[in-house]
């Protein structure tokens, strides 16, 4: 699995990092960055949850790495 953040849509809510702190983090400005790429199997559910918590719908999940 791969997770991507659309930098044009992300406005730094950090909802992804709260839902999935292992997979998502923050850059200098508080915008989301993917920390683990590809996403390890045991964190796939967590990454999907992060995508489902983003108010800007900025995260996309590609199931096959």
């Amino acid at each position: 699995m791969r997770a991507r953040v659309d930098a044009d849509k992300c406005h730094g809510h950090q909802s992804c990092a709260i839902a999935s702190p292992e997979v998502f983090g923050s850059d200098l400005y508080g915008n989301a960055v993917v920390l683990l790429d590809p996403v390890p199997a045991h964190l796939e559910a967590s990454a999907r949850r992060a995508a489902a918590n983003c108010p800007e719908r900025a995260i996309s999940i590609q199931e096959e790495a």
Binding site: H11, G12, H13, Q14, S15, A17, I18, A19, S26, D27, L28, Y29, G30, R49, A52, N53, C54, P55, E56, R57
Partner: protein
């Protein structure tokens, strides 16, 4: 300006300062949202539109070229605010539109990134402990006035590098602008002048007596494209931090304690499953979102069949968005481990609350510290809880007994 008659029809004549609406706005929001007219309108308080569905509110937030932020207060500015010595001072970046918005915001974002605000956690915890020390022996306290209200003002004052002993004055000025001042233009103007006069003095003091490191000094030394930023910008950012950083977070802390006082099952859940704290904080923010912002329509447009004209005010009721059943299952239930929560308590789009990571930290530390020391408590007299509303909703008096 303010018709004395009570509201008869919430879709055409809502009153955001109606006492019943301030105390519990959710039934009226529900009725508007499920009516044939989910974008309500009123002539009261200078006139405004109020969308109530999640998708509509997010769409407006994202369409920032049509729905501008040139004024973000829920009622029009009082006469005289655009004159006098501080006429050019706004509250950037929240009052900025592109293209200036970009650097107005980018300049302050690193200060509020999660990794940057983490350094305030220990001090906030110590502050919360001291507050609890002051009332725990009494067996009761005002969770709003003795606790919630006391926290964010000191965190913000620490960040800005301004005197902590002025906390009560800062609180009074902010209430003067955002609470009492919303329905009293004279009070609003007076308190705006007090805030800006204070920061003018702080800037002058730093210019005369340079300090090594505090936020105001850093802002004064900020360069954009090789030029120092204007002092109006620095004053504006300070103004924003004080006005937006205090009663918003205080309201969120107060509402959350008000909720926990009435829900022993949630108190137990937080004790038994401490790993849910981050998710629980998001859920409390969703269910009791304090803030409603405004947008000003830039040019005539039609939105969901409503003819909006240039200059019209649109209220961004994030509390209404966050209770929309189209977006949230069982929206009126607080589910502390809610799996999917795209809440917009901090807004959406380019004006997402710049201080959201600090607000979350304060809310989490304030609630965790309270729950560790006062795990069991209840409202003394539920009917006696008083609320503020309009721009920022939260309890102002909330007596609880420790059990």
């Amino acid at each position: 300006m303010h018709p004395e008659q009570p509201t008869r029809d919430w879709t055409t004549d809502y009153d955001i300062f109606d006492a019943g609406f301030v105390r519990d706005p959710y039934p009226a929001m529900h009725d508007i949202r499920e009516s044939t007219c989910p974008v309500a309108h009123t002539e009261r308080w200078g006139g405004s539109w109020m969308p109530t569905r999640y998708d509509d509110i997010v769409a407006i937030a994202q369409e920032h070229d049509v729905f501008t932020s040139r004024n973000i207060i829920v009622v029009p500015p009082p006469p005289g605010v655009l004159e006098g010595p501080y006429a050019g001072v706004a509250a950037p970046p929240i009052t900025s539109d592109p293209p200036e918005h970009h650097w107005h915001r980018r300049t302050i974002l690193p200060t509020f990134a999660p990794q940057a605000v983490a350094k305030y956690e220990d001090g906030t915890r110590a502050l919360c402990d001291r507050l609890i020390d002051s009332f725990i022996e009494a067996g009761q306290a005002d969770a709003a006035a003795d606790y919630a209200q006391q926290i964010p003002v000191r965190v913000i004052a620490t960040m800005l590098g301004v005197p902590l002993e002025m906390a009560d004055e800062f609180t009074s000025w902010v209430r003067g602008v955002l609470e009492i001042g919303l329905t009293d233009a004279k009070v609003r103007l007076e308190n705006r002048m007090k805030i800006l006069g204070f920061f003018r003095g702080q800037l002058d003091d730093r210019k005369a007596n340079p300090r090594e490191h505090d936020l105001i000094t850093d802002l004064l030394n900020t360069k954009v494209d090789g030029e120092l930023v204007s002092e109006n910008y620095v004053m504006g950012v300070c103004n924003l931090m004080l006005v937006a950083g205090i009663d918003t977070t205080w309201s969120a802390i107060g509402s959350s304690l008000w909720h926990l006082a009435q829900h022993p099952e949630h108190r137990r859940q937080l004790c038994d499953q401490p790993e849910i704290w981050p998710t629980a904080i998001e859920e409390l923010l969703r269910a009791y979102s304090p803030v409603t912002m405004a947008r000003i329509v830039d040019r005539d447009t039609e939105f969901q069949g409503c003819p909006m004209h240039a200059g019209d005010r649109v209220l961004m009721s994030f509390p209404a968005a966050n209770r929309d059943p189209r977006q949230f299952d069982d929206p009126d239930d607080v589910i502390l481990d809610r799996e999917h929560n795209r809440h917009v308590a901090f807004g959406a789009g380019i004006h997402r609350c710049a201080g959201s990571n600090l607000a979350r930290l304060e809310l989490r530390v304030a609630l965790q510290t309270w729950m560790e020391r006062i795990p069991e408590f209840e409202l003394i007299e539920p009917e006696a809880v008083t609320w503020a509303g309009g721009q920022v909703r939260g309890p102002r008096r909330c007596l609880v007994r420790f059990t």
